[in-house]
């Protein structure tokens, strides 16, 4: 074995097995804790884009599968929430890009299910969910940056700073994007003739 090979063998030597097992166990616990703490928030992020319960759940599961595959990096992460949101965000955007079309399987029942409690009746609920679906369809017509900012701002758990981290920009930029998005959305609503 040459000197170079000896050195490479030394560098490539795996960590001790006991150490690895211990790491695996603590990693599993860490991942389980992450699932318990962030799965709902991640679901909301995914749902804000897909607007489909099954797809959103699938995206969340895919997110944690990626975490499992890259579990060695868990120790390097400073902010798990932002990291996980970025993963699920990329997953849903990637899927949407592949689908090429807006969600045709958008489920009005999903909208109806998440409406705030205290809605007067089933008819009113159905009307509201249809109207919300139309407004969210208009959100999809906004420019990419504005759309991303306003969709993430809809997720209650995320602060402006976290949204800025996910989208790799500044807080002030996020604020101005959200403002522009709302302004353009109002213009679109006016143009579409949706009654005030």
């Amino acid at each position: 074995m040459s000197c170079l090979e000896t050195q490479l063998a030394g560098w490539a030597a795996p960590a001790p097995v006991a150490n690895a097992l211990e790491t695996n166990e603590s990693t599993s616990q860490t991942i389980a804790a992450l699932v318990a703490e962030y799965s709902t928030a991640l679901y909301r992020v995914a749902f804000s884009v897909t607007r489909n319960a099954a797809e959103a759940e699938d995206a969340v599961q895919e997110t944690f599968l990626r975490v499992l595959k890259h579990q060695a990096r868990l120790g390097e992460i400073r902010d798990y929430r932002v990291w996980l949101v970025r993963i699920v965000w990329n997953i849903v955007l990637d899927r949407k890009r592949r689908a090429k079309t807006r969600p045709e399987n958008e489920d009005l029942a999903d909208h109806a299910r998440v409406l705030p409690s205290g809605e007067p009746g089933a008819d009113q609920t159905a009307i509201s969910s249809q109207e919300y679906a139309r407004i969210l369809a208009l959100v999809d017509r906004l420019p990419r940056r504005e759309r991303e900012a306003i969709l993430l701002s809809a997720v209650e758990e995320l602060t402006t700073a976290e949204i800025a981290s996910v989208l790799a920009t500044t807080e002030s930029s996020i604020r101005s994007r959200i403002f522009r998005a709302r302004r353009e959305l109002s213009a679109l609503l006016e143009k579409e003739g949706i009654s005030r």
């Binding site: 490479l8 560098w11 490539a12 030597a13 795996p14 960590a15 690895a20 599993s28 991942i31 389980a32 699932v35 318990a36 799965s39 709902t40 679901y43 909301r44 749902f47 804000s48 607007r51 319960a53 959103a56 759940e57 969340v60 599961q61 944690f64 599968l65 499992l68 060695a72 999903d110 909208h111 299910r113 998440v114 409406l115 705030p116 509201s128 969910s129 109207e131 919300y132 407004i135 969210l136 959100v139 306003i150 969709l151 701002s153 809809a154 997720v155 209650e156 709302r182 302004r183 959305l185 109002s186 213009a187 609503l189 006016e190 005030r196």
Partner: protein, 161 residues
């Protein structure tokens, strides 16, 4: 501007809230953990082909990268040198610069000539040169200067005194 937004504000907020506050179906965590457990079992049963690479210490990947890059650079340099030798086989004598016995440097070597012994007079077609008068330090054009035809030049200045 805010007046524009106002009529729609509540509806937009409500629609966004409906998208951003959706609750997952009950048992989401359990389903995720079950899938993770299945995936972990599959990974242990069939370790990935690149498993040895993943088990490498963190610093070994950059080291291997640098080593590979160095090797590639060395191959490129050796290859280009060999290529140059093939294109120019044998020894070609470099050009020899023969310096004359006298002269002021490389210019005299390229154009060997005797140094001028007297100032060179301007030719008949050369342009007029300004003449500096020490009594009047301002430059003036000499009255007998030769001008090329067709070139507009000011008339010679004459001292009115």
């Amino acid at each position: 501007m805010n007046a524009e937004l106002e009529p729609w504000k509540e509806r937009i907020d409500a629609a966004l809230r409906s998208a951003g506050s959706a609750d997952p179906a009950p048992g989401l965590e359990g389903r995720i953990l079950t899938r993770l457990a299945a995936e972990r079992a599959a990974m242990e049963a069939h370790p990935a082909r690149m498993g040895w690479f993943a088990r490498m210490p963190r610093y070994s990947a950059p080291v291997l990268g640098v080593a590979t890059a160095s090797l590639v650079c060395a191959v490129i340099i050796v290859g280009s040198v060999d290529h140059s030798r093939v294109r120019h086989p044998g020894h070609v004598a470099p050009p020899v610069l023969v310096l004359p016995g006298h002269g002021l440097g490389a210019a005299s070597a390229v154009h060997p000539a005797e140094p001028a012994t007297a100032p060179v007079a301007a030719g008949p077609a050369s342009r007029g040169r300004s003449v500096r008068h020490f009594s009047h330090p301002r430059a003036r054009i000499a009255p007998n200067a030769k001008k090329a035809t067709g070139v507009a030049v000011p008339a010679p200045t004459t001292n009115p005194q």
